[in-house]
């Protein structure tokens, strides 16, 4: 896989789950800057699960780990069942992930555009590989 193929994320449909409005707005604009199409943003776990189960096409998901006193893992499970690759964003880092998700790419908040690009590239590389 060539690097620029990896970094070409144009048209990628990314489900975004983030419960803090300011941070969601930032992530949304970053994804748009990368040429992605944002699905959501979901601000509650249930919204993300509903979107995951709605049948609409989703290429990847970026999930905030702690959402309104819950974790995003039920939503992550729903997405995995559909074969959607999942990355997490968290204030705790990789250590905050349970063993079954320890391999998932993780963004440590706050993150920069390049880091977001890299994580999405990794996700898509994994699915294509």
């Amino acid at each position: 896989m060539e690097p620029d193929r990896l970094s070409d994320l144009t048209g990628l449909r990314v489900l975004l789950l983030e419960d803090e409005a300011l941070v969601a707005m930032l992530a949304e604009s970053m994804l748009e800057d990368l040429g992605c199409q944002v699905i959501g943003p979901a601000m509650r776990n249930a919204q993300a699960i509903a979107l995951a189960e709605s049948g609409q096409p989703i290429d990847a998901a970026l999930l905030d780990v702690n959402v309104h006193s819950e974790t995003a893992f039920p939503a992550a499970e729903a997405l995995r069942r559909r074969g959607v690759p999942v990355a997490f964003a968290t204030g705790y880092g990789q250590a905050g992930l349970p063993p079954e998700w320890a391999d998932a790419p993780t963004l440590q908040k706050p993150y920069a555009l390049d880091q977001l690009r890299e994580v999405l590239g990794t996700l898509m590389g994994r699915t294509r590989a």
């Binding site: 419960d19 803090e20 409005a21 300011l22 941070v23 969601a24 707005m25 930032l26 604009s29 943003p41 601000m43 509650r44 905030d64 780990v65 702690n66 959402v67 309104h68 006193s69 974790t71 964003a89 968290t90 204030g91 705790y92 905050g96 440590q108 908040k109 706050p110």
Partner: protein, 533 residues
């Protein structure tokens, strides 16, 4: 046991042995004997040695014929009596005897008195008066079914008799020699006893030290780990009596957790085992739930002079509080890190969004700074109340302070906003105020702002309805594209809080109605799992 003994005491009758009279009433004693597989009666009848039993109160429970013969008493004279009433003595000999009994009762092990002078009253038939005599005695514990020491068996010999025999001899020289030998014998025995007493005092001193030690200490004997000694701290830790029982018997929950296996290994390998902050579930009181504790401890094999391992010495500290404090500290640090990262994310978002909506750096600077301050001041309000919430009035004061109070009408009850709602309302009010200063009612000297709010019942949480009505400003035109402020209000009040934000750009002035549920978030507890990312 006490009941059984009271029956024993009441019964006496046989003149030859105590057992004959006392036995029919002593079912408990008999069953104990059966348990110990002793043929009590045969033993009593046949033994030329003097034996007697006292109970825990040092009352006579039984004595054999040889004993009665030795002390010159009938069973009926001493049955059930306190030994020191039956044979009064007040000086050193009494202290010696009493200490020995108490040692056996307390420690559950045999104790020997090599030599003790003890005067007993001569029966009236033999002329009465006190007879000074010398004795040796071995005291052995007899246990009840529950493992406690119920009786002390005394095997005693009257060694004064040696002297009497010798007195009957007629060879003067030989007698003199024997008298010397006898004096030597007694001197040696006396010396031994004195040494024993010294050891006893030393051992009692060590016992007191161990007992009062701040850490827990116990001594386990035999490969089955029988508790021989446990200090006060140990008994507090396990919350029950353990002496004389095996670890598996006394602390079944501990056995299940692999500690007996550890002890077995120490016994077999002769190597100590050191546990650090080792988790253990303990039942601290009878019938209580298992409690999680953490222990620092060492299992040290007790190696005898002949190289044999006779037991395990256990010593340690209950470090539960320390471990909990460390965990709590780690939790707080994690939470602090998490909050800092989240706040930095918010600042990043504010910066990026403000850059995008600014055309010049001069425009960006004040706008960014003002948003940052709005966020920071709301943090101050929340911190003042341990993040349990902030008052709506305080938030409004903070944003509207620069403007003359006469231009702003405020009407509504006191409302405490939970942390998340407080931050959202503060940012929303900040954006509305900024907009009013730039384009609306606060952009000229005559405009007015009316704020009204009320609480109404909601589905799960009470709803706050806050209206922001501007009038007297320049004619309003709806914004061409949704600016950052508008999107922020929609996203925070509508999206994040699950409420609604209606912004009506009427020509007479902006009318905004914010409706939001006052959800008591659990994230005020500062636990990482409960907080928002």
């Amino acid at each position: 046991m006490a009941e059984a003994l009271s029956q024993c005491k009441g019964a006496s009758g046989s003149q030859s042995t105590a057992l004959g009279g006392a036995a029919p009433a002593c079912h408990r004693l008999r069953s104990e004997a059966r348990r110990l597989q002793i043929d009590f009666e045969a033993l009593a009848g046949a033994s030329p040695n003097a034996y007697m039993l006292v109970d825990r109160q040092l009352n006579y429970a039984w004595a054999n014929a040889a004993y009665l013969r030795t002390v010159g008493r009938e069973w009926s004279e001493i049955a059930g009596r306190y030994i020191f009433d039956a044979f009064p003595e007040s000086g050193e000999p009494r202290r010696l005897l009493q200490t020995s009994f108490e040692t056996v009762l307390r420690e559950g092990r045999a104790d020997t008195i090599a030599l003790i002078p003890y005067a007993i009253e001569r029966p009236a038939a033999l002329g009465g008066g006190l007879e000074h005599r010398w004795w040796t005695a071995v005291h052995t514990p007899l246990r009840a079914a529950d493992g406690s020491v119920a009786f002390v068996l005394q095997q005693t010999s009257d060694v004064t008799e040696l002297q009497h025999l010798r007195a009957a001899a007629d060879a003067a020289e030989r007698r003199a020699d024997e008298a010397v030998a006898e004096r030597d014998l007694f001197a040696r025995a006396r010396e031994l006893q004195r040494a024993n007493l010294g050891l006893l005092a030393e051992s009692q001193r060590l016992r007191r030290l161990f007992d009062q030690a701040p850490g827990f200490i116990c001594v386990l004997r035999e490969p089955t780990h029988i508790f021989e000694f446990a200090n006060a701290a140990y008994l507090r830790l396990v919350g029950r009596d353990v002496i004389g029982k095996s670890v598996a018997e006394a602390l079944p929950e501990v056995a299940e957790q692999g500690f007996v296996q550890l002890l077995d290994n120490v016994h077999a390998s002769r190597q100590p085992f050191v546990g650090r902050e080792t988790p253990i579930m303990l039942q601290r009181e009878p019938g209580a739930e298992l409690e999680a504790c953490f222990l620092d401890f060492i299992y040290q094999p007790i190696v005898e002079a002949d190289g044999r391992v006779s037991g395990v010495f256990v010593e340690g500290y209950d470090v539960t509080e320390r471990v909990r404090a460390q965990k709590h500290e780690r939790l707080l640090l994690d939470e602090l890190n998490h909050r800092v990262k989240n706040t930095l994310s918010s600042v990043q978002a504010i910066a990026v969004q403000t850059i995008r909506s600014s055309t010049t750096l001069a425009e960006f600077g004040p706008a960014f700074e003002a948003r940052l301050l709005a966020l920071s001041q709301t943090h101050n309000l929340l911190t003042a109340r341990q993040w349990r919430g902030a008052s709506l009035s305080d938030i409004l004061d903070q944003e509207l302070r620069p403007f003359a109070a006469a231009r702003i009408e405020r009407d509504g009850p006191p409302v405490n906003l939970p942390a998340r709602a407080a931050l959202a309302v503060a940012m929303a009010v900040h954006e509305l105020a900024t907009n009013a200063v730039k384009y609306g009612a606060l952009s000229n000297p005559d405009g007015r702002l009316t704020l009204r709010w009320a609480l109404q019942p909601g589905d799960t949480f009470p709803l706050l309805r806050l209206s922001w009505i501007e009038s007297g400003g320049p004619p309003v035109q709806p914004p061409g594209r949704r600016g950052f402020g508008t999107r922020l209000i929609q996203r925070t009040i509508g999206g994040e809080l699950g409420g609604a934000a209606e912004l009506d750009y009427r020509p007479a002035g902006l009318a905004a109605v914010l409706t939001l549920p006052l959800e008591e978030a659990q994230d005020a507890t500062w636990s990482p799992t409960a907080s928002a990312t």
